[in-house]
């Protein structure tokens, strides 16, 4: 028992002291402040060294530190898009920290972002495919919105919007439906990736509403998309009636 206590005390006392405020707050190492004085109170952080995250020793989330030039140019784009969300709305959805890094991957699969509503953090890959970069920002924000409002975005209700014989995959990476190109003529889905899971479908609809406002609003010939858009808009308005799409 004495030996056990000694070992326990040893670990308690010499646990490496990460006297790092950012790490203390969001548990991501190797970050520094990029900008924290923003109008909507979002705090932008960036990786100064590569970092790994994960709940077990494998730490399957990887991201690299970006070069300053890319960081500066992408920050402007990200900020412009995220400024569309008010501080009031961001508080309601639990989003406060934006982590900027490059070549973000989870389980070796590249991804545009990793949302974490518990940590109030969204990690964004600033080198994500240029063609979808801005829309992907809103896509990832939606995941935070949904995670913070699970009751509102009911997946069973959502699935009923689709044709009866359609079924989503079990997870977003469980099939090869990864294409993010917007269909020129939609039939219930904006992109191939929308067909992966209900959650990704919702995020794709939301990102199209936010990024292609006119295009998303002119889908009179697609009743499924129309219902989906209405569903998303109604629920967002339930969260914040002053939200502007």
């Amino acid at each position: 028992m004495t030996l056990f206590k000694t070992v326990l005390f040893f670990f308690i006392f010499i646990a490496p002291l990460k006297a790092n405020t950012i790490y203390d707050l969001i548990k991501i190492p190797n970050l520094e402040i990029y900008e924290i004085n923003t109008t909507n109170k979002l705090r932008y952080l960036y990786a100064v060294k590569p970092f790994r995250l994960g709940i077990n020793v494998k730490k399957n989330i990887h991201c690299l530190n970006p070069d300053k030039k890319t960081l500066n140019s992408k920050y402007k784009i990200i900020k412009t898009n995220l400024n569309r969300y008010s501080s009031k709305f961001l508080k309601k959805i639990n989003l406060k920290y934006i982590v900027l890094c490059e070549n973000l991957s989870i389980a070796k699969i590249n991804t545009a972002g990793i949302p974490d509503s518990v940590m109030r953090t969204l990690i964004l890959d600033i080198k994500f495919n240029e063609a979808y970069f801005e829309r992907a920002i809103h896509h990832e924000v939606f995941h935070i919105i949904k995670d913070s409002n699970k009751d509102l975005f009911n997946e069973v209700k959502w699935k009923n919007f689709n044709k009866k014989n359609f079924e989503y995959a079990n997870c977003s990476t469980c099939n090869n439906k990864w294409n993010l190109n917007t269909y020129s003529r939609t039939v219930g889905f904006f992109t191939e990736y929308s067909k992966s899971t209900a959650s990704e479908d919702m995020a794709e609809v939301f990102s199209h509403i936010m990024f292609y406002q006119d295009r998303a609003n002119n889908n009179d010939d697609d009743p499924i998309i129309k219902k989906k858009i209405l569903f998303i808009k109604d629920n967002i308005k339930t969260i914040d009636s002053t939200f502007k799409f």
């Binding site: 326990l8 006392f13 002291l17 405020t21 402040i33 924290i36 109170k41």
Partner: protein
């Protein structure tokens, strides 16, 4: 008959040298050991305060720390703080978490008191008064000397533990409930015992007392 022996000049010089050596060897040791030697001890009676009922005096090893509370910014937190101070709950509480030149934390009333310090649990103790909601909406700059209520990783878990920052921490704004700010005596807090690379300070310093001015 005893003959008086006269001390030679060399012997006298040697004696003086030994005395001086002793003074210069032991003197600095005594000075270094007394870490409070150059710390000013502020007497609250020497100052005029506009809101005396919001002034508290925290007495630690090196003297008094005079803190102003801000009930307008965080009414519930200040109310809780005053309740605990008036009951003497913070007396003998350990400064159990101290990060050099950054932050000191105290106020674990269950596992962090002088008589029952539990190194395995300190930091997790409760006051018995229940948790209070975070009050983080008001603008408050976390500058050196700011006092805030500590919480767990989740919001609305403030209880009795508090921290005082020794450097500006802009990221704390909107994260932690502010309680007040040190007006005088922050140098007393800079002398609180810390251990580099240690999360919890072994054999920590303690708060002697925390009292309301009125």
């Amino acid at each position: 008959m005893i003959n008086k022996i006269k001390i030679t000049k060399l012997e006298r010089i040697t004696l003086i040298f030994i005395i001086l050596l002793g003074v210069f060897t032991i003197g600095p040791l005594l000075i270094i050991k007394n870490k409070c030697l150059f710390v000013k001890n502020y007497n609250p009676d020497d100052f005029q305060f506009n809101y005396r009922d919001n002034i508290i005096i925290l007495n630690a090893n090196c003297g008094n720390v005079i803190i102003e509370l801000y009930p307008d910014i965080s009414p519930n937190a200040v109310k809780r703080f005053k309740t605990l101070i008036r009951s003497g709950a913070y007396d003998d509480a350990a400064f159990y978490r101290v990060i050099e030149n950054k932050l000191i934390q105290a106020g674990d009333l269950e596992f962090g008191k002088r008589e029952n310090l539990d190194y395995g649990k300190v930091g997790t103790g409760k006051s018995g008064l229940g948790l209070i909601k975070s009050e983080i909406d008001a603008d408050f700059k976390y500058e050196r000397g700011s006092v805030g209520f500590a919480r767990t990783f989740q919001m609305d878990t403030e209880d009795s533990q508090f921290f005082i920052i020794l450097k500006d921490e802009p990221l704390f704004e909107g994260e932690y409930t502010p309680v007040g700010k040190v007006l005088y005596g922050i140098e007393v807090l800079e002398k609180v015992k810390f251990m580099p690379k240690f999360q919890i300070v072994p054999r920590p310093d303690f708060i002697n007392s925390v009292k309301m001015l009125d």
